[in-house]
Amino acid sequence: MPEKTYLQAISDGLRQEMHRDERVFVLGEDVGVYGGAFKVTVGLLEEFGPWRVIDAPLSEIAIVGGATGSALMGLRPIAELQFSDFVSCAWDQLVTVAAKQHFRAGTPVPMVLRLPSGGGFSGGPFHSQSPESAFTHVPGLKVVCPATPHDAKGLLATAVDDPNPVLYFEHKHLYRRIKGEVPDERYTIPFGKARIERAGDDVTLVTWGAMVYTAAEAADELQAGGVSVEIIDLRTLQPWDKQAVLESVAKTSKLLILHEDTRTSGFGAEIAAQVVEEAFEQLDAPIRRVAAPDTPIPFSPQLEKAYIPQVEDVASALRELAAY
């Protein structure tokens, strides 16, 4: 099976979706001639033409509103904002219009919004955010966070098929660093189904996105010390695979949630609340969260390292939890 980078998987997925369904089109800044700020859409303009790969003006509102309107008329836009940080410019379009349309009027809005997110390379406060948690709080939106090339492509296909607005958070720090096996043919991965990155008996670690790799390194350290950690990669946050987490907690009775987004009101808080509600009698220790501190993302490398959860942070939290 061919190995592709995370970026190639998304790129190939886009191309495959556009070939497969003529309703699919791409809309965003610099996606056409330039091939995308991160080169995800290279070659698509030449292949599909300027009315399927549309270079939009610098307007998140026009991009998201344009996607909403065209979706209402039966197309399947895959819109892109250049950085997830700029999603705040289009907040109103997403939250006020797209999210509420089906509830109020019964009309589906089958759009996908790709959002390159995440930090780790001194991008500073406005090019590094992981704002996915905020959107789990908006009924009507779906939130997807692939961590592997395989999942990136499969989840993109599902997002295109889904008749709801789907926010697809692709972690830009994984684009070229992570490679994996990705089938050439089309496949879908259902939303709300987690991937068990590794099974374990002593502690459950729930995470998503680039933090999956940090978790894996930390778990390796703990394994060497005789503690086995079960890592659950949620893959999607809205919906999320609560069943998988509850089953794991029933086994280990200890839960740690890890996310790159800031701590307060991050999605980890929701997971913790639901697990306590439904599995109180399974818990042998308090639920821990490891997340970024409640600050904007700093620029200098030393500060950023103190901000983004590191392997040592996760490993030490896991050790404490295991020993409790």
């Binding site: 009775s253 109180f280 399974q282 818990l283 409790y324």
Partner: protein, 414 residues
């Protein structure tokens, strides 16, 4: 190897005005493993005589102050070494040693003065198995009992495979009389002893005995037995029939499948049927559960009984197998007994015992009311029940239903 730290055992202050205390008796020897909160020694002071619990887990490294000595409050009277490996057990009497200068003691996490924290899962498991957490050693933070600890405790208490972490108490020093044989109780024995005593102390035991005419069952069993063996490799026993009839009757008499928790009655919607299995040539007893027995037909029940019995005897049961039972059947009748007064398996409220199948003369009335003597295979069924929850009328109606069920077992019934 883990780093070793030393915990100081100090003479406690048993009252504001108390300034000293006297060692009455050391309950542990040097070199012996001690657990946090476990009684370590007895002291006497002006105010009160009391046991002093161990401040931590570890090995009692050295006893500084000997029995009979009086020291000021706060004096270090012993040292406990935490971490590292346990030294070999010592059979000799505790000996005095020169006080070892303590290595710079590392601060130990302060332990709660009262019982250590019980987490939700530990509380639940302990309640389900009537485990007294005071008796469980805790390996967790602050010496608390963790989920692993309580599960290990249950497994050790109910399976013959018990890793003895604790060294056995030193043998009594009085000389045995000639002809007496002295042996320590096995883990299983001690556990059974504790359970039986506790069961009698907990439940208000009453027993009722019913005679059941097993003619129909005998006939049907004769017919089905070869088929079960050839086609399914399952031995069909009378116990399987009784178990089926019992499970069906429990549907209509659900309190017999319940538990008393404090002031509440917890009635289970599922029936996890325990079967008592004798092991070790009659010197031991294991009671594994068949989960969701209500969903089994005769074949399924016979198969399940065969399976748990085999695994019990070959020591292949898992901790899950011996948890969560809701009703127990015991079958001593194979050896000829005709009446029993079984002891309830806590936290259940009833236990059924099947006695020997004996051919007896019985009086049969025909339709005209004319009596005649006939020989029938009769089996006595004895039900011990907890009279706190179950009254006699309830119990006997349950038994009457089982009897009817067995006596009218039809050809087509499975």
């Amino acid at each position: 190897m883990a780093t070793q730290t030393q915990i100081e055992v100090v003479m406690p202050q048993m009252g504001v005005s108390v300034s000293e205390g006297t060692i009455v008796k050391w309950l542990k020897r040097e070199g012996q493993r001690v657990l946090a909160d476990e009684p370590l020694l007895e002291i006497s002071t002006d105010k009160v005589d009391t046991e002093v619990p161990s401040p931590g887990d570890g090995i009692l490294g050295s006893i500084v102050t000997l029995e009979g000595e009086t020291v000021a409050v706060g004096t270090t009277i012993a040292l406990i070494t935490t971490g590292g490996e346990a030294p070999a057990e010592q059979e000799s009497e505790s000996t005095t040693t020169a006080p070892i200068p303590p290595a710079s003691p590392e601060p130990v996490a302060a332990l709660p003065a009262d019982r250590a924290f019980v987490s939700p899962v530990v509380a639940r498991i302990a309640a389900e198995h009537s485990v007294d957490l005071e008796r469980v050693s805790g390996s967790g933070h602050g010496g608390r009992v963790t989920k692993k600890d309580v599960l290990a405790h249950i497994a050790a208490a109910t399976t013959p495979v018990a890793a003895a972490n604790e060294p056995l108490p030193a043998p009594v020093t009085s000389a045995p009389s000639s002809g007496d044989r002295l042996e320590p109780m096995s883990q299983m024995r001690r556990s059974i002893a504790e359970h039986m005593r506790r069961s009698l102390d907990t439940a208000a035991h009453a027993t009722t005995v019913f005679e059941v005419d097993m003619s129909n069952v005998v006939a049907i069993r004769a017919r089905l037995k070869p088929e079960f063996l050839e086609r399914h490799a399952v031995r069909l026993t009378y116990l399987a029939f009784v178990a089926r009839a019992t499970v069906e009757a429990l549907r209509n008499w659900p309190w017999l499948n319940a538990e008393i928790r404090g002031q509440e009655i917890v009635t289970h919607s599922y029936i996890n049927l325990c079967i008592a299995v004798a092991v070790d040539g009659g010197k031991g007893l294991v009671v594994p559960a068949i989960r969701n027995a209500e969903g089994l037909n005769l074949l399924g029940m016979a198969r399940a009984i065969q399976d748990v019995a085999e695994r019990a005897r070959s020591k292949q049961l898992t901790p899950e197998d011996v948890q969560g039972g809701t009703f127990t059947i015991t079958n001593p009748g194979g050896h000829g007994s005709i009446v029993g007064t079984p002891i309830i398996n806590q936290p259940q409220v009833a236990i059924l015992d099947t006695e020997a199948l004996v051919k007896r003369p019985v009086v049969i009335s025909d339709e005209k009311g004319v009596d005649a003597i006939s020989v029938r295979p009769i089996m006595n069924l004895c039900l011990s029940f907890d009279h706190r929850l179950i009254d006699g009328a309830y119990a006997v109606q349950f038994m009457a239903e089982i009897r009817r069920s067995l006596e009218s077992w039809g050809e087509e019934r499975y």
